[in-house]
């Protein structure tokens, strides 16, 4: 494991992106756990309908209001409706009227149909949470890569025709937050598998083009463990090519060879990632099944690496 300087992870707002299913939420949960142990007030922010943190921490469902999912770790889910009401309240100043606007059947249909409304209210909510000095670090779990790119592009999309007005303010404060190297970092999470590597390299290139964004770490998750050392792997290959053919233990050797190949492929993938992505890296070995042990293991690794 690299021993990176802990600096990007000390910023107040951390975005995490990467191909779906690479264990982004688990890494986030581990970072939050490590931060809580260090006496900070981590807040996990999830977007949309699906909540991973309640499963990961075996806590009750996470809702719009931050709730404690593990000792010192809070989580919130940016649900569309309350986030919309929060946004409207920030403009109209009166919550009851904001609720009426959000519930007006015609406007509701417009808000549900119009592209961009999701992203706007989400950006507003993240900025609102960031302004509340109670939380830090704020760890935002962005969905798949395509979705994340759209999310970061929104300010520039809106900028085209928003000269002034309330949305302009949201866009400006979001742009300011995203562009502030003291307050914000974007991390990429991946696994050492060929398809994931291609997508990660593409994502990194896209994010790099955006000069206003500040990339933090590349987290490489689920590196297959090395079961045997190099000599032992050679012995396995040798046996399978000769003396062990057809023997009752041959299937075990074949399994060992298979797992060694998997580890080797992962090694190639990691070299490919290092070749194309110049971010400081943290790698984590594949862990056993239960989410509690995974989080505990990862947060120990993070602490050992000196993140505080």
């Amino acid at each position: 494991m690299h021993a990176p300087n802990g600096e990007p992870l000390t910023r107040q707002v951390q975005f995490f992106t990467g191909k779906g299913g690479v264990g982004k939420s688990t890494i986030l949960a581990a970072l939050a756990t490590a931060a809580a142990r260090a006496g900070k007030q981590p807040l996990i922010v999830e977007l949309g309908t699906h909540t991973s943190s309640s499963h990961l921490f075996h806590s009750p469902d996470v809702g719009y209001q931050p709730s404690e999912v593990a000792p010192g770790v809070h989580a919130t889910r940016v649900q569309f409706e309350p986030a919309l009401i929060d946004y409207i309240t920030s403009r109209l100043k009166l919550r009851p009227i904001a609720s009426l606007v959000a519930k007006n059947s015609s406007l509701r249909r417009l808000f549900l149909a119009a592209p961009g409304v999701d992203e706007i209210v989400t950006l507003h909510r993240v900025a609102q949470l960031a302004a509340d000095q109670r939380w830090g670090p704020i760890l935002v779990d962005l969905e798949s890569t395509g979705h994340a790119l759209m999310f970061f592009d929104l300010p520039s999309v809106l900028e085209v025709f928003l000269k002034d007005g309330p949305l302009r303010q949201v866009v400006d404060s979001a742009t300011e937050l995203l562009a502030d190297p003291q307050r914000c970092a974007i991390h990429i999470v991946t696994v050492p598998e060929p398809l994931a590597v291609n997508e990660t390299i593409h994502l990194h290139a896209q994010l790099r083009k955006r000069e206003d964004l500040h990339l933090g770490y590349l987290f490489i998750n689920r590196v297959p463990r090395a079961w045997l050392d190099e000599d032992e792997n050679q012995l396995v290959d040798h046996e399978l090519a000769g003396a062990s053919v057809g023997q009752p233990w041959a299937p075990d050797l074949a399994l060992a060879q298979y797992l060694a190949q998997r580890r080797q492929t992962a090694g190639k993938c990691i070299r490919g990632l290092h070749h194309d992505i110049d971010l400081p890296t943290m790698t984590f070995e594949a862990q056993d099944e239960s989410s509690a042990t995974i989080i505990a293991g990862l947060s120990d690794a993070i602490e050992r690496a000196g993140f505080r």
Partner: protein, 357 residues
């Protein structure tokens, strides 16, 4: 064996990301093509994995033919490029170059057509509609984007119908009209100006005016897609991993699908076992002396992998029982799946799990 029912015309692959959904969509389409159907696999995923899985250089909005080892069926693949699909929709609906151009030049249209999740969802909906009505295809397999955006795609038709059918559009177009029916609309529009800003509301009005000619057709097709999604010839296939985290995600996606009255036809659990060629026997073996040093490591390795597989298997059985749905369980791939023959070899190893009730 992995196969859809014979009368299936449209299949949506749904699920959270990173579980091999795109690869499976490609394999499913391939399997049906090898059974003699003419299949289009359509990926709505903004990330470009379908081309990788099928071993071709790239995909576009136009369908590409995928070479098959058989002559009875056909396999085609296309990627949804929002901008290209949306432009095409406008051109077709406008019947008039100048009218189409005015929409294409509209700044709202330009800003939104290429970038946002909901725009993707609308363009996907149109593309699915078009593909299903294309006589060249017997079956359309849609690979939806991961989780949240996938739900976005499933909800797009209903949302659009609801918006276009309503007075909302009318008050944008007749904001100067002082008739009493429209007064409520005027008040709402005033509020909208406060929350969204004058410039956006004006731009939106301009856009909806330009788009007026499209509304009817758009709304009609959205309704048709909505009906199509609930038609008996449409199947939803949920793709997931079978570890504990994957099972939670699968439950939540299954609930999303069911709550919309869509038919969850099958569940696919990926990477649930080691491929046959690398499997070890379940019985303990005695190793020769020269391998004595390896024996304990090999035994530990086998024990751990066996218990992982068992755990996954029992997760799958429990899921099938709870949801009354059949599952296909797939091994992890030995090599990256990058061409039709590798895909075919992979799904041939599928094991079937049926609910016990």
């Amino acid at each position: 064996m992995i196969a859809l029912s014979d009368d299936c015309r449209l299949a949506f692959c749904v699920g959270v990301g990173g579980v091999g959904k795109t690869t499976f969509a490609a394999a499913l389409g391939l399997g049906e093509a090898l059974r003699g159907k003419s299949v289009l696999v359509l990926t709505a995923d903004p990330a470009r994995r379908l081309a990788d899985a099928l071993g071709i250089r790239g995909l576009s909005d136009q369908a590409s033919d995928i070479p098959l080892p058989t002559t009875s069926g056909e396999l085609h693949a296309a990627m949804l490029e929002t901008k290209a699909s949306a432009d095409e929709i406008i051109r077709r609906a406008a019947h008039d170059e100048a009218r189409a151009q005015r929409v294409l030049d509209n700044r709202i249209y330009q800003a939104f057509s290429n970038t946002l999740a909901r725009s993707h969802a609308y363009a996907a909906m149109e593309r699915v509609h078009e593909a299903v009505h294309d006589a060249r295809y017997d079956l359309v397999v849609v690979d939806t984007p991961p989780a949240q955006s996938s739900i976005e795609i499933l909800d797009a038709p209903a949302r659009l119908v609801s918006f276009l059918d309503q007075r909302v559009v009318r008050w944008f177009l007749q904001a100067s009209d002082e008739s009493p029916q429209l007064r409520g609309g005027a008040i709402a529009q005033g509020l909208l100006r406060i929350v969204a800003g004058q410039s956006l509301v004006s731009a939106l009005t301009e856009f909806l005016t330009e788009m007026a000619f499209l509304r009817e057709g758009f709304s009609e097709r959205a309704k048709e897609v909505q009906d199509l999604m609930r038609s008996p010839s449409t199947s939803f296939v949920l793709v997931s991993s079978a570890d504990s985290i994957g099972m939670e995600a699968a439950k939540s996606v299954a609930a999303e699908v069911r709550s919309r009255d869509f038919a969850l036809a099958h569940v696919v659990f990926n990477r649930t076992f080691i491929p046959e060629a690398a499997r070890s026997s379940a019985d303990p073996v005695s190793y020769p002396k020269r391998l004595a040093a390896l024996a304990s490591k090999l035994e530990r390795m086998r024990a751990l992998l066996t218990s992982e597989e068992e755990q996954k298997r029992s997760n799958i059985v429990a899921f099938c029982d709870e949801h009354g749905v059949g599952a296909w369980s797939l091994p992890e791939a030995r090599r990256p799946l990058g061409d039709p023959s590798a895909l075919a070899a992979w799904i041939e190893q599928a094991r079937s799990v049926l609910p016990r009730t």
